[in-house]
Amino acid sequence: MYLPGDDRRLVVTPQLALRVAIMGGIALALFAVIFFRLWFLQVLSGDRYLAEANDNRVREVKVEAPRGEIVDRNGRVMVDNRTALAVQMAPDRLPTDPAVKAALYARLARVLNMGPRTIDARVSKATKELPFSPVTIKTDVGLDAVLYLQENQSRFPGIQVERVFLRKYPLGELGAHLFGTIGEITQNELKQARYAGVALGNRVGKSGVEYEYDRYLRGTDGASRIQVDAIGRPKGELSIKRSTPGENLRLSVDLAVQKAGQQALGSYGLPGAFVALDPRNGEVLGLGSNPSFDPNVFTKPVSNETYRRLTSEDNESPLTNRAIQGLYPTGSTFKLVTTVATMESGLLTPNTIICDPGSFTLGGITFRNAEGAAYGCINVTRALQVSDDVFYYKLGVQADNKGGDIMQKWARKLGIGSEVGIDLPGEMGGHVPTPAWRNRLYKEKKTDRPWSGGDAVNLATGQGDLQSNPLQMAIAYAAVANGGRVVTPHLGQRVEDAKGRTLQRVQPGPQREVEISPTTRNTIMKALHLATQGDGTSAKVFENFPVSVAGKTGTAVRPGQGDQAWYVAMAPYPNPQIVVATTVERGGYGADTAAPVAKRILQAYLGYKGRRAAALRRRG
């Protein structure tokens, strides 16, 4: 204690001076600390903090690029876009208090007419994947709901409305399997090279040409840099990078052909498929599968229930594209392959006569013609015209006995039993049974017997273990029609800009040459033309048809269900410009269900009024 307990006068003792100096020293030290801290923050690290401050206020907002349109070969729009309003939520502005959040979800759910739990699930799923980007809660929201949200913004923190492009499929179920579907890109897809440059949350093609030509169709999103305040309210645009719309895609498909095929097929209410292509170059004119689906469903989030309905076998799996994914025995349409194989390997000539007493017994099993017919001793032309089974049973056994798997080799050469390389994803290869294959299975005890003559009998007539689809059959028939070129079927014709100018031609896959002698070709073509005439298998269907047609029926026996109808048509005979392969599950005789579908497609292709038909006749 150095000061008196008195208050008259202050005497500045050395001790007091020291203490004042200490206070001054402390003050100096504290100021120095703050000064140096300021120096560090502002002078030494100022650049960093300036960048941080700019990061704070600048938000990049995606400017969505519309996907390109898909048009048919005549330029008719089949797939385009429409704009819609989407309600989104910025997760960083979500209330943290669970009760407040639940109340917000409940309010929002009432406005958007959806369940609060759905909102919660969507937000938590999306924030797990990408914590800071806006979550789309509902796409395609009505204007009244949007206006309500905007008027009551304070009660809906973090809710924003954005204009988005929704894919539009105005044709509905028409062409659905061709166009395919789109959906938001997944984490796995993001890692793939084909999606380079695509950001999470973007929609990409998931199936069909939407998938196959996604690179052209999807375009490039733009970005708008906007300034926002602390609670994310926009305060003006700083810069904008315009989006580049996707390029348009012109398909070789003829909408009239597509429509005719799907309508004809759909009229039976049975599962089935058709393929129509140009045998000269492989351009697909139409390709469809029944039942079909509405791809518009996939432009918005799909509920599990909907997805189950679209894939369930009870509903005949509408998403399955039977034209390229079906795995069917082809019935007598396969006789084309048997004929080519035996003629090209010298087992059969146009004049070879084989006698048909009505049945054929091999190894104790008797094989008969359909409906108990017996055609007597006939040549191959007649056999094809009336689809004589016994003729082909015997031929099949001969071919099998000759060795070298000639039927199987020719089937594969003509494109059967493996993927043909169409520009659609998900193609199934099918299967051509060989002795080696069955004997291996037998050795592995996966089947009850080794290869036998009966298998050859079955294969020669397209029954048994053969698995193929309409696309492969169309390719095989096209190869015969065009004299030996196995074409790669393709849908994409060219990539165009918005004005229809060609940006890029789609290069069709390579064509493979196989040796088919003119004799073989002409014999078959003539026989199949005769099949549509007189007492030919499909003569009734093509009675008075304005154009010469060559065609082959098929009726495949399928265990556990009704016979499957097949038909492959080529027109105009003798130099076809279109090959149509159709099949109808449980459709019975090929001539009853499959051939009429093919006929309707040919009619559509040739023009109902017959204008094109008349022109073809003149030229022919």
């Binding site: 008196p4 208050d7 003050a27 801290r37 120096w39 923050l41 502002q42 690290s45 903090y49 300036l50």
Partner: protein, 393 residues
């Protein structure tokens, strides 16, 4: 000096001089720093807030405060010593009143709403405590042992500090304790006593922060604990968290760089990233808008205040004045360091206003009253010296 005479109060050496001559006895460096900070406050508030509300109100408070400052400057502070019980009682009464009748803001009861003004008793408590504690200290020095003096001064400071903490207002209670320690320091309590105090504070802090929560008796509220530790984890992205506020403050200051981004370009402030930009984080606004130069200038003005306050301490005509000056120095220093330190991210954010700069009537007026007291001590000292010279001459 014209006209002899004896003042009707005080020491008897004061003269009724002509007004102009008395005005000249003010500490002009102190006055200049004071006015400089007020101008800085008004300019900064004007650019940081969108309407004129804050500027006009702050200008009004400053006018009232300056008027009080000038009145006090020419009033002999020494008389206030006799009012120590009244001052102390008023302080305790007001703080209790606010606990009962105050208006809550963000969970804290600090204000009593008056027609034009949210009256904050804890702010006024600062200056009342400075005066009462200084007076009590002198009285204790007459008849008490050193240990008794220490205990009593600390007790008298701790009582209002605890009451303010209950509002809760952690920052102001820290200022109260600093005032108590400064009083002890100036009256010359030995280092040993300070060491003892430090030990007690350490044990108390241990009890409050570690032991009490462990046995289920939290002394600090959750948000207070958050605030105290926030500057240790700044990367919190939740805008409501203390870490986020601190981060935004540091970003704002850093982005000001050497010369600042100007009022228009200061996006952290203008786009509301900086929370409480007119009160707790006004230093960050200065840093962002005017850069190192501006923030440095503000600090320099505070340094001038502190320097003048310490100088006034040494020339005071009496011990009371010296203690008051020392306590005011500690009060200002604590506020500047805790607030600016919080803004630059080296101290916890405790919600202490930055003297004269932060928006707020109670804070501005109380600070100007404190500066008025310093001026009074200075004026009195000069007049005493002048009259001495006169006597000697």
């Amino acid at each position: 000096m014209a006209g002899p005479g004896v003042t009707p109060f005080g020491t008897g050496v004061q003269r009724f001089g002509d007004r102009g001559a008395r005005f000249l006895r003010l500490d002009f460096v102190l006055l200049l720093a004071t006015l400089g900070l007020i101008v800085f406050s008004l300019v900064t508030l004007g650019s940081a807030t969108s309407d004129n509300y804050f500027v006009t109100h702050q200008a009004g408070y400053a006018s009232v405060g300056l008027a009080l400052m000038f009145v006090l400057a020419f009033f002999d502070y020494s008389r206030l010593r006799e009012l120590k019980w009244g001052l102390y009682g008023t302080m305790i009464g007001l703080i209790l009143l606010v606990l009962v009748a105050g208006t809550a803001t963000r969970g804290s009861r600090r204000r009593i709403d008056l027609p034009f003004f949210g009256f904050q008793p804890s702010e006024f408590g600062k200056i009342l405590l400075v005066l009462a504690l200084s007076a009590f200290a002198i009285e204790f020095m007459r008849r008490r042992s050193e240990r008794e003096i220490t205990a009593r001064v600390i007790l008298l400071a701790i009582i209002p500090a605890m009451l303010v903490m209950a509002q809760p207002d952690l920052g102001t209670s820290i200022v109260y304790v600093a005032i108590g320690l400064a009083v002890l320091f100036i009256i010359g309590v030995s280092w040993r006593q300070f060491a003892g105090l430090a030990a007690i504070v350490g044990v108390a802090a241990m009890l409050a922060l570690v032991v009490a929560p462990a046995i289920g008796l939290p002394v600090l509220k959750g948000y207070q604990q958050d605030r105290l530790t926030a500057f240790l984890h700044k990367d919190d992205v939740d805008p409501r968290s203390q870490g986020y506020q601190l981060n935004q403050s540091v970003t704002a200051i850093g982005s000001g760089q050497k010369t600042g981004r100007g009022p228009e370009g200061a996006t952290q402030t203008q786009l509301d990233f900086l929370p409480e930009s007119h009160t707790d984080f006004i230093f960050a606004v200065v840093g962002e808008q005017y850069g190192f130069v501006g923030a440095g200038l503000v600090l320099t003005l505070y340094a001038l205040l502190i320097w003048r306050a310490l100088r006034i301490l040494t020339i005071s005509k009496n011990l009371f004045g010296a203690i008051v000056a020392g306590a005011i120095t500690a009060m200002l220093m604590t506020q500047v360091f805790v607030n600016a330190g919080g803004n630059v991210g080296i101290m916890p954010i405790t919600g202490i206003p930055l003297p004269l700069l932060s928006y707020g009537g109670s804070s501005v007026i109380v600070t100007l009253i404190a500066l008025g007291l310093l001026q009074s001590i200075y004026v009195q000292a000069r007049e005493t010296a002048a009259s001495k010279r006169e006597v000697l001459a």
